[in-house]
């Protein structure tokens, strides 16, 4: 090989290396954090819309938050615990949570159009938006996982068994609200974990945190 072609080869390799490892992960995590932030804000606004015309009896009927189908997942509950969790475990927690919500959101999406609520249309469109964002985020996190090169893929399975929200319209509304509140909380968890990951990956760039 001549000098020129050797140099060219080296430069190409270096570029490929850099693009695969350092820079790519930061940008991926930045993008993932933005998506998770958006996910949480949409779910918050959706909750507010639901609350605007919620029957008082519904609040009494509402199941406890511990009844969320993702409550069995062991997650860090404060900052110190969270900062001690290794990165790949944080990522797998985020991915498990995300995966656990694809089916329930499909159910919410199907039921949103027939909800007994005056803001039904807004709720419907926002639910669809949630679904789209979840799919994007799931794909993005898979890229992050591949980039991080973890050895094992230990995703927890959090099955969602119900396929309907209820029989009468009040219980459907109440269960819709309940599922949404569970999701809102889980989206906040995902958001927090990804932002910790993002800050850890950008060691040399504190402005990312």
């Amino acid at each position: 090989m001549t000098q020129g072609s050797r140099l060219y080869f080296a430069v190409t390799l270096m570029c490929a290396f850099v693009s695969i490892h350092g820079v790519g992960l930061n940008d991926l995590l930045e993008r993932a954090s933005q998506l998770s932030d958006k996910l949480h804000s949409i779910s918050t606004s959706l909750t507010n819309d639901l609350d605007s015309h919620f029957p008082p009896v519904g609040r009494v009927m509402m199941p406890r938050p511990s009844m969320c189908h993702t409550s069995s997942l062991q997650i860090p509950n404060d900052k110190d615990q969270a900062l001690k969790v290794p990165e790949d475990e944080l990522l797998s927690l985020a991915r498990s949570l995300l995966l656990a919500w694809s089916d329930p959101l499909a159910l919410l999406s199907a039921e949103a159009s027939s909800l007994a609520h005056p803001e039904r249309n807004t709720i419907n469109s926002k639910t669809k938006e949630l679904q789209d964002n979840i799919d994007s985020l799931g794909a993005g996190l898979e890229h992050v996982f591949n980039k991080m090169g973890s050895s094992s893929d230990n995703l927890s399975s959090l099955p969602f068994s119900s396929n309907s929200l209820g029989q009468d319209k009040t219980s459907r509304l109440v269960n819709f609200h309940f599922l949404l509140s569970c999701f809102r909380r889980d989206s906040h968890k995902i958001d927090s974990f990804l932002k910790v990951l993002r800050c850890r990956a950008a060691k040399k760039r504190p402005e990312m945190c």
């Binding site: 509950n77 906040h188 927090s192 504190p206 945190c209």
Partner: protein, 553 residues
């Protein structure tokens, strides 16, 4: 007994025994401070005193009981977590019931039944509870109740369920400072601040976003201007460009964590913008604007004056196909006689006129038609009659004369039609007509054919001029070959002067206006020479005939 009313707050009870001698009635006056009530009416003094004392005791007992009660319900007002690691809750006490009351806060976490008490009542002030890091868990529901208790009982507040993620609200940013930066072109002022205290910005547990707002402080006016807000993202400084000179600005900053609640606005920082910063700016701007306007006007002026050359320079005209002899400008002007004259005269075969030749004029007059020519008043005397072969006899004096060059042959043919003589006169007369050609009717004799083309009707007459429809022009004039045009080059570039034989004749009938009145048929005689086109005729008007000449004749 009359009802006794005593205010609860009065403790001291004075008993005054009064004995009134009138009517032997003894009254016991019970004075509570300034209130005096008559209590009883007793007969005997001793029994009165005893009763009075009992009564007093009872009264004091009642009043004592009314002034003290179990506490009222307290109320949890707000809980707040400034950095997502600790949180504090405040409550509002209810009534104390007149007794020393103590408050306790109890909480329960989501999935357990165990009840805990507040870890710290003092750090955050009165009626508050501070949960430190060890006692704060996020994504878990806290069920919090405040209990007020005193000697007489307890009161429970309404339970409140909170999740730390919903109550995140940071402290305002600190050390807000504003500096004015004067650069020549774009002055601005720079706002800088520090993150709120105790907030962790390095681990990624929270992400702080800032917002800046500014307002012009107008001390003299009563109403203040409105705040203008700017989102500053995650940075710790912000520049605001183009401030108004000579004003005083107030600047405030606030922040929020992720999707949480906004903090309060920081205390205002003030800055005074100096006055003189705009002078150079204004001068430069005015000069630039004036220059632009001047240049624009100059360009417009130049363009208007020199439109064509500039246009030709910028957009060179596409060369159009040109027919030599045909001028498009003439076409556009719409005057057909000019067009025709331009078309015909330059190139038409030259007719060499030998002075010794006899120029015979064919006079054709239009017998039946009226003539409207206003312009040809001077020719009215020459009525033009279209007298052709048929009308040969009718040819009168007033007739159009057709002059033919080299018309020997034609002479024979036309002799019948032509009224010889007076050619020269008429020739001269026609010269005036020549001078102002009006509309001309073309009459072509090509080859063996003589065709007269009329604009309105179809005039064509075949060879030998058998059927000739001629539209009377109504013109009086002579058909004459324009002498002036003899010098011009032949139409087709050929030299017609040395023609050996007349094969065809080109006859051009020029006619002024063509009234649609009709036409007359003209029959041309066949001459013995045949092929001659001969003929022509025309009507009135101005005929110009071109014939091919035989060299022989």
């Amino acid at each position: 007994m009359p009802l006794l009313k005593t205010p609860c707050s009065f403790r001291a009870v004075y008993v005054q025994l009064e004995t009134q001698k009138d009517c032997g009635v003894n009254r016991v006056k019970l004075c509570v401070n300034s209130v005096t009530d008559w209590v009883a009416d007793t007969g005997k003094m001793w029994r009165d005193a005893e009763q009075a004392l009992t009564l007093m005791w009872l009264l004091s007992g009642i009043s004592y009981g009314m002034c003290h009660s179990p506490p009222g319900r307290p109320r949890l007002t707000t809980c707040r977590s400034p950095e997502k690691e600790t949180f504090t809750c405040w409550w509002e006490p209810g009534s104390t019931g007149g007794l020393p009351t103590s408050y306790h806060l109890y909480y329960r976490k989501e999935s357990s039944l165990e009840v805990f008490e507040c870890p710290d009542y003092h750090k955050a002030g009165n009626n508050s509870c501070y949960f430190d890091k060890r006692h704060t868990s996020i994504w878990i529901m806290y069920n919090i109740t405040v209990v007020a208790s005193n000697a007489l009982g307890k009161a429970y507040s309404e339970s409140v369920e909170i999740d730390v993620m919903d109550i995140v609200r940071p402290h305002p940013p600190e050390n807000v400072s504003v500096t004015f930066m004067q650069t020549t072109n774009s002055p601005y002022f720079l706002v800088r601040w520090r993150p709120p205290r105790n907030t962790d910005t390095r681990s990624g547990w929270v992400t702080i976003k800032y917002e800046v707002r500014t307002k012009i402080e107008m001390s003299r006016k009563e109403e203040d201007s409105n705040w203008e807000s700017y989102s500053a993202g995650k940075q710790l400084e912000f520049s605001i460009y183009s401030p108004q000179p000579g004003t005083n600005y107030a600047v405030q900053v606030r922040c929020k964590l992720d999707q949480g609640l906004w903090s309060e606005w920081s205390p205002s920082a003030f800055i005074q913008i100096p006055d003189n910063m705009s002078d150079t700016q204004n001068v430069v701007m005015i000069t630039a604007v004036t220059l632009t306007v001047v240049i624009f006007l100059l360009t417009a002026g130049v363009l208007t004056v020199k439109m064509k050359p500039v246009k030709h320079f910028l957009l060179p005209p596409v060369p159009e196909p040109k027919i030599s002899g045909l001028d498009t400008q003439l076409l556009k002007s719409g005057k057909s006689e000019e067009i025709f004259s331009a078309l015909i005269t330059p190139g038409y075969p030259q007719i060499a006129q030998s002075p010794d030749r006899q120029v015979e004029c064919l006079v054709i007059s239009d017998c039946d038609e009226e003539m409207d020519f206003d312009d040809k008043a001077h020719l009215e005397n020459q009525k033009i009659e279209n007298c052709l072969i048929d009308n040969a006899q009718k040819v009168s004096q007033n007739s159009v004369q057709i002059t033919l060059n080299n018309s020997q042959d034609l002479n024979t043919t036309l002799s019948k039609h032509v009224q010889a003589g007076a050619v020269s006169n008429q020739l001269s007369a026609t010269s005036s007509v020549l001078a102002e050609p009006q509309q001309l009717l073309h009459l072509y004799c090509n080859g063996s054919r003589v065709k007269a083309q009329d604009q309105n009707t179809q005039i064509s007459y075949e060879s030998e001029c058998e059927n000739v429809n001629i539209n009377p022009a109504g013109l009086t004039g002579y058909v004459e070959v324009d002498k002036e045009k003899q010098d011009q080059k032949p139409l087709v570039g050929e030299d017609y002067s040395m023609v050996s034989d007349i094969i065809s004749g080109n006859i051009l009938v020029l006619q002024d206006s063509i009234p649609a009145q009709g036409h007359k048929e003209v029959k041309c005689d066949k001459t013995s020479e045949a092929e001659e086109s001969g003929g022509v005729f025309e009507p009135l008007g101005y005929l110009e005939t071109l014939t091919t000449f035989s060299s022989g004749s």
